[in-house]
Amino acid sequence: MAATDVMVDKTAAMIAAPVTAADWLVIAPVLLPIMFGALLVMIRHSIRWHALIALGVLAAMIGANVLLLMRVLEVGPVSMTMGSWLPPFGISFTVDALGAAFSLTASVVALLCCASSVRDIDAAGRRYGFYPFLLLMMAGVSGAFLTGDMFNLYVWFEVFLISSFGLLILGSEKPQIDGATKYAVLNLVGTTLFLIATGYLYGTFGTLNMADLAVKAGQMGEVAPLMTLASLYLLAFGMKAAAFPVNFWLPASYHTPPVITGALFGGLLTKVGVYALLRTLVMIFAVERAVLSGVIGWVAVATMLVGALGALAQSDIRRISGFLVISGVGIMLAGIALGSVGGLSGAIFYALHSMLALSALYLLGGLMRQKGGSFSLHTLSGLYLASPLMTALAFIIALAVAGLPLGSGLWPKVMLVRASLEAGAWPLALAILASGFLATIALGRVFILAFWRNGIAGQPRLEAGKVSLTGYGAVSVLVIAILAMGLAPEPFIRVTTAAATGLLDSSAYVHAVFPAGGVQ
């Protein structure tokens, strides 16, 4: 029989029916910012419209993410495959509770950062494209949270990375260029490692669809190539998340751009790394994660302590915030090391809390600078007298970041400490408590020096500056969210537990991608 006579049954490989309206929701949080980001690039000279359009798009993203999360909690993971090819041939976007919760929190943080930036980003910043970069970065971040394909995840990493380069050097101050050089080179190496792992992944499995991978990796069991893959992913995403031995790019760069950019980066970007670790190590390489759990555990301990000790040694508020971001990543890694429902749920909850609280901390640094004229603890003083409102906001944020009651950091830490004690991993529990204690000292010192100290001996009192209303507004909304998480954690814990169980038992995720059992 000649090849020309072969009849191919295309119904097994192609989607015939049009995509339903509800499925479009899956890609709405990516589609909105990428389209309007492109629009803003096109109208880059009409800078008056930039902030307004960006705010509108981010608000619409929140709306789409809320609908998406509600749908996912109601019907389980939803999937959409592009280009009419059925998975694993077509590229799928698959959303479960984990992706939807991360994406929603990220869009909330982005909207608030954007709102607080309306007055701070000057005409030059707008003309050089602050808002297009912001929207394109959000497209990359949302894409990373929502995609169901490993190579597609790599592409979204690159999308938000190159936009973050743009944001980082906007303004071209000397420290910015210095910090951006280190940030750019090390992050590029990190994503290249990710690409190496993905190349091996394709060579080993012949597929890049995450649901397909989860099934096939589970069937393969504990074999050598999978160990290599899991270790490579741990290194690559650990680098992106700023885990201990590969964290040095973060304190070198995050304090150099305007605080708005720092708030966005500190809140969102490291969490994309943590998300990718959860997705690959917990869902796909579950067996290998169990083998590596000792390594991940010690990396977590080291990351927590290095971050907290680093924060103690700094006198610049932005650098303190940067080290506290690292310390928080260690706490999330502890949950990944444990791998139980309680541990993972705690880690996911901590990630959501950390997006809000660390962004709030950076934005608060900006407010303190506006009021007190400096970022340095050597010169800041008397902020309590100058602004009781700011002091109240700072108090709640400090409680949240340190993981003390009232703030949102308490409950995830309680869950993680309980999960580590249940697993007998007392070093992890001890490190979580110790890093919280050290963070309390670091933030307590900020409070004593910047807020309570009433003037510095031998120096004239600094005149209190004016703080923009939008700045107060954005931080206040973040603080309300932090208080809501801290005072009524049950609905959040329900979502994170659903996300954790969805990671550990991926059958619902796989079913969403392959409703008919799929191509095995």
Binding site: A3, V6, S172, I177, T198, Y202, S315, L449
Partner: protein, 125 residues
């Protein structure tokens, strides 16, 4: 064919990593380029080197005739090349600006963002 490519990929990685260990930005960037190309070759080899025939399906057919090259790694590499090229262009400009502003391409001398004599925070009022 694959073993030869594997050795070549190894050489590329070795060269790339050696250059990236340098203190000088320009050598680091050259290392990054080698590193990126090593990955492209790696993906290419991982897709199995089958035939040099392009995977084009003739008119009126549903399948290619005979054994053809695997198109997927090529698509992946094309994406990776575009991305790494744009990154490299950005990094080159950034390195040049850093050289202009800071006056050195020695990473040990780039201490503007993290000054050496930063000092500790105040220990009391």
């Amino acid at each position: 064919m694959e073993p030869a490519f594997a050795v070549l990929v190894g050489l590329f990685f070795a060269g790339g990593i050696y250059l990236m260990l340098s203190r000088h930005i320009i050598r680091i960037l050259l290392g990054v380029v080698l590193f990126g190309n090593a990955v492209n070759l790696l993906i290419f080899t991982n897709g199995r080197i089958l035939r040099e025939v392009p995977p084009v399906i003739g008119e009126g057919l549903d399948m290619p005739v005979g054994l053809v090259a695997n198109p997927l790694p090529q698509a992946l590499i094309l994406t990776a090349i575009v991305i790494s090229f744009s990154f490299f262009a950005f990094l080159l400009v950034l390195a040049y600006r850093a050289y202009q502003e800071i006056g050195t391409d020695d990473t040990d001398g780039m201490r503007i963002a993290e000054p050496v004599d930063d000092g500790l925070p105040p220990m009391g009022y």
